[in-house]
Symmetry: D2
Subunit: 137 residues, 4 copies
């Protein structure tokens, strides 16, 4: 039996509208990227977050933190690594690493972050994470 | 009987995250401002768009156009004028003028725009605009 | 001599944060997509908008219009076609078509739009479009 | 001599475009609000962040964290409290509390957050915080 998929990499091109007047990817946009990472990690596990919501299963951010080391810039091509670190009854923890490809070939680490998601129903009440989501095979 | 409210002015402070690396309010954000103008125009008419949606009445943008004359900048204090120009069975037309207060006191016109909204139900089907919304008193 | 590249297609996955509470891609986000289309059209022509800005050549939106036919939804995979329709001394006109792949295979046209860009320098003054940008080969 | 201003409250109306399809203020938008809080706290201290940037003084987010307790919704009227907790040679720490006015009159705490800003110059190099910004009077 194969191990569940616990990590995935996606590439993201920084958009013009995401960068502020200091020339840096605005810190609010990283959370949009991390959400894309979670969507694609689920897809790699054979799940679709859109379908989960239609079935009444929602994941909401309960807490988050980030450390910004270097700025990303317009048109940068970034690699986001999204990894599940812990799955509880009703919560999932992820960590994120955002890297920029450099001319030398070795990636430059720009940002690290962590989130804790809570699983809730349509009314925002905490519910157990459905079995298929907890231990994908 | 008093005339219905057809126009309203709101003040908007340009946020840091709304400005691009050329130092200009990004053109995508104007539509967010215009939407705020419509929300406040409805409120001045004694209506609340949040309540309308809860009653199953949605307004969606069918078409829009804008002309950008001068850029708005971070921390500018703008005045948005929102005006209803035409109300049909299932559509409402608005025009918008966005001005910046200048040191001389006379406002500087930055942007003009027009939108046509369609009234739809929860499933996106065109429906007649409810009477209270069409001719507010 | 080969014809200049006048059109390009890109694929865009609708992000969760781009969709509003009515479940539709918010109309303000389309302009972000169209800007991505222009960036990639330039790249297909061998140019990089980031470099142009560093050389003091900026393109700003002078006017725009759009017609929204059907809503795009979260996780939809869209194809954006960006096409140059006219190049003047200091302006470029583009048209955009945004389609969604459908189960039947034939794409569904969601949105059409047009923009006119003005070429300006760092201070916002209109300047002639550099020769290499006007007629790419 | 009066104490420096260390805290300020601002009111924010949640915009339609800021809310996601689950009906909640998207977690990425809170950082935009917190940035507004910092801008207004500086203004209450007699400073203008726009002017600071023009003088070559930039504040960038080095790290941040947030805890989300309850969701904010479209058209909610929120009160954001922004407070300086620590000022170092080249960094400033803030805490944030976001409350919603409730029908009963007592505010409902939605979110708490913390940020650490680093003071940098135009090239992103850490610099000492200018004296007037460190201890406003």
């Amino acid at each position: 039996m194969s191990d569940p998929v616990r990590s995935c990499d996606i590439q993201i091109r920084v958009r013009y509208a995401e960068v502020d007047q200091a020339g840096a990817l605005h810190h609010s946009r990283y959370w949009v990227y991390f959400e894309m990472g979670r969507t694609e990690l689920l897809r790699a596990q054979g799940l679709c977050y859109r379908d989960l919501e239609q079935q009444g299963v929602f994941f909401v951010i309960a807490k988050c933190s980030a450390r910004f080391r270097s700025a990303a810039h317009y048109d940068d091509l970034l690699t986001l690594t999204t990894r599940v670190t812990k799955t509880g009854q009703a919560r999932i923890d992820h960590v994120y690493e955002l890297n920029r490809a450099s001319a030398s070939g070795s990636p430059e680490l720009l940002t690290t972050a962590e989130t804790t998601l809570a699983c809730v129903n349509r009314r925002g009440k905490i519910i157990p994470i459905p079995q298929g989501v907890r231990t994908p095979t």
